[in-house]
């Protein structure tokens, strides 16, 4: 589904990402872990064609993401607040996205009703601009927006951060469901080793822009990860 070739990004001579080769298969749930500054977000931004790579490229369905925009139509993503139009209310934002995805009002209502629990009655119909929501609620809006239009690929940066424990667990369940029912290819970065091992079947450790480990999740993965990060 996603294929990375000789991808590298340099800022004034310092290489922040260098991934010679990486493939994410259809329906695979791919977890990216690493300390601050490991290059996780930069990597995701290059997947979404938000940063021009210094060299190499990212292919989505065998097409380079910076040569065609086809990927946009089957990829849902949420990296940070700049993905939100913060002067709209959440309702307006969802309406707008619904029009992009060709949803009718009924489709949109059906879609949003799935997330009633997640929203906890704090988001819809509240006459509050997105910029005035708490970080956690902003994140909820972004994640739900990314799920709109039945994407085939989902890219989330730190989806668990800023969320309350209940929502973290709900999100985990939701992501697992999506993987099983819809064969969704997921790319998730997280600092929460616990969550990421539960959601992802494959974990890659990034450090200083380079892949240090590429493991299939098993019983011992969490322990391995903890060990890896303790040693440092």
């Amino acid at each position: 589904m996603i294929e990375v070739n000789e991808l590298s990004k340099k800022y004034s001579g310092v290489e922040v990402v260098n991934i010679p080769s990486l493939k994410v298969a259809v329906g695979e749930s791919f977890g990216l872990v690493g300390n601050n500054g490991a290059g996780k977000t930069t990597f995701f931004r290059m997947i979404l064609d938000l940063i021009r790579p210094s060299s190499g490229n990212v292919l989505s369905k065998e097409v380079a993401v910076n040569s065609s925009e086809d990927w946009k139509f089957y990829t849902g993503s949420f990296l940070d607040e700049s993905f939100l139009i913060d002067y709209l209310t959440p309702d307006e934002y969802f309406d707008f996205l619904a029009s992009l995805h060709g949803y009718s009002q009924g489709d949109l209502n059906d879609f949003l009703s799935q997330f009633e629990d997640l929203f906890n009655d704090e988001i819809l119909g509240k006459k509050k601009y997105i910029r005035d929501l708490s970080k956690g609620n902003q994140k909820k809006v972004g994640i739900v927006a990314a799920l709109m239009g039945n994407p085939e690929v989902l890219v989330l940066d730190e989806p668990f951060a800023n969320l309350d424990p209940t929502t973290q667990i709900r999100l985990k369940v939701l992501l697992r469901e999506l993987k099983e029912k819809h064969q969704l290819t997921m790319l998730i970065s997280s600092h929460d080793l616990n969550h990421v091992t539960e959601v992802c079947e494959r974990i890659v450790i990034l450090e200083k822009g380079q892949i240090q480990k590429d493991i299939q999740t098993s019983e011992t993965t969490l322990q391995d990860l903890e060990e890896y990060f303790t040693v440092q």
Binding site: L48, D49, L50, I51, R52, E69, K72, F73, T75, S77, L79, S82, F83, L84, I85, D86, Y87, L88, E92, F96, L97, S99, L100, H101, Y129, G149
Partner: protein, 491 residues
């Protein structure tokens, strides 16, 4: 789709925190804009008559045709400094299932709805309809109007393109300045008369209306160039105006010697130097030091010496008036931080006080140069300075605690009325009028000098009691701190 994007643009504008809060200021600005535009329109309608008045022995039409090239030159410069493509607007759309091309086309077309593009039409279109149409016929007038429109389009998109290029090639600005100076010199020394060139060009469009296509095509060409440029560079980190500055401004290590107050002042100076809006107020205060040059050498003002006290207060105190009125607002974003740190409120206010005193002292020392226009000016400035230090600063500090509003430091400075509330408008009065309360009675009775000295002495007394005054201010801030910090948080 376009409708949705347009509504987003409107919402972005109308919901911007800079706008919404201050209805009165918005209305005043709106009226001002309407006034300006209608003045331009009126000016445009009577352009020919105005030219006849100003230059009675010329052919007004030739003069107007001669102005046009200059007009567009000046307009280009204005656009260069004031006009911006809202490239950041597209950032939240980039990851959505929307073709980049559509957003860029939308953005470029929308940018054309700019007041700048109205100026030329308001100024010159009435002239074309009123005078050219009857004189040269429909075809000629249409050619002329077409050329005018073409020039507007050209100036608009060329300006945008030029600004983008300048980010890539910073030296372009020198090329621009150099060529401007060169053109001006050519004109000034009458080597090339651009008014002749301009008149000749505009006449070509009248005699050969088809030629009007040329500026239009040129303008559209630059539209396309803009499109291509943006299409190839739609990466937020490349187009974003908020480039990470590699330069860290200011160190102020020497202030550490002055203990905690010094440290706090150093932090405040960093706040000023690293953000556009407070930096602008600082620069403005510096520029206003020269304000006296408008008054002191002027004979007619020498007659009305009573203005000089006002000038003295203004020149020596502009920084604390400008910056001090937002004393707490500047730090609205981290006021909680200040309250929770190991700084007691008295120290905090002391640091502010001494910073303002230092700013006044620097301004006063520089203003001593005005003694060139008479020793009395120096004396007045000294008294005004003392008054500022002893009374003006505490007044401003106290008034800044009156319901302060948070200022978002990362926003631009032009037309930014964030943090401006009723107190800010009222503040000017006590600071500028209080010295006159002491001065005016003596002035009227003829003991002018006594009045001036009294102002100075009052200031000196205030300064001698500054510890007491700071204690009072501390009590005031202590009792209001919860309300103030809640206010900052709510915004």
């Amino acid at each position: 789709m376009v409708r949705e994007l347009l509504s987003h643009g409107y919402k972005n504008f109308s919901r911007s925190p800079i706008w919404g809060k201050n209805l009165v200021v918005n209305i005043i600005l709106g009226l001002l804009a309407i006034y300006m535009l209608s003045m331009m329109l009126v000016f445009g309608v009577f352009l020919l008559e105005v030219v006849e008045q100003v230059a009675p022995n010329s052919e007004p039409k030739k003069v107007i045709n001669g102005i046009i090239l200059y007009y567009f030159g000046v307009e280009f410069l204005m656009r260069f400094f004031l006009q911006n493509t809202p490239v950041l607007f597209i950032e939240p759309y980039l990851h959505l299932p929307l073709k980049k091309g559509r957003i860029i086309h939308f953005m470029l077309r929308k940018s054309f709805l700019s007041a700048f593009n109205l100026f030329a039409l308001f100024l010159f279109l009435p002239f074309a309809v009123k005078h050219l149409l009857p004189d040269v016929g429909a075809a000629g007038a249409l050619g002329w109007i077409g050329a005018l429109l073409g020039l507007v389009i050209f100036n608009h998109y060329f300006g945008l393109y030029f600004k983008k290029k300048i980010n890539e090639i910073p030296n372009l600005i020198f090329i621009l300045l150099g060529s401007m100076i060169a053109l001006w010199a050519l004109d000034y020394f009458q080597l090339v008369q651009f008014s002749e060139v301009s008149a000749w060009f505009m006449n070509q469009f009248i005699s050969q209306p088809v030629l009007a296509v040329i500026p239009v095509v040129l303008g559209l060409g630059f539209y396309q160039a803009n499109y291509q440029f943006l299409r190839n560079n739609t990466y937020p980190e490349e187009i974003s105006a908020k480039k990470a500055s590699s330069k860290i401004r200011g160190d102020f290590g020497f202030l550490k010697k002055f203990g905690r107050s010094g440290e706090l002042i150093a932090v405040e100076l960093k706040l000023i130097l690293r953000h556009k809006r407070p930096r602008n107020t600082l620069i403005l205060s510096g520029l206003f030091l020269a304000y006296g040059l408008f008054f002191y050498p002027n004979e007619s003002y020498q007659e009305m010496e009573w203005v000089f006290l006002f000038l003295g207060v203004f020149i020596t105190g502009l920084f604390f008036i400008n910056h001090g009125q937002f004393m707490l607002s500047w730090q609205g974003g981290h006021f909680d931080f200040i309250l929770t740190q190991k700084v007691n409120i008295k120290e905090y206010l002391e640091s502010k006080y001494w910073m303002f005193v230092a700013s006044c002292s620097i301004a006063f020392i520089i203003s001593l140069a005005y003694a060139f226009f008479g020793w009395k000016i120096a004396l007045i400035n000294l008294c005004a300075f003392l008054f500022n230090v002893g009374i003006g600063i505490p007044i401003v500090m106290r008034m800044s605690m009156f319901n302060p509003k948070k200022i978002n430091l990362n926003r631009g400075a032009t037309f930014n009325y964030e943090g401006v509330g009723a107190a800010q408008w009222l503040m000017v009065f006590p600071v500028l009028i209080a010295p006159y309360v002491l001065y005016a009675p003596f002035l009227i009775m003829g003991y002018e000098l006594v009045g001036i000295l009294l102002v100075g002495v009052a200031g000196l007394v205030g300064f001698l009691f500054h510890k007491k005054v700071l204690t009072v201010l501390t009590e005031a801030l202590k009792s209001k701190r919860h309300k103030i910090s809640a206010g900052f948080r709510a915004q």
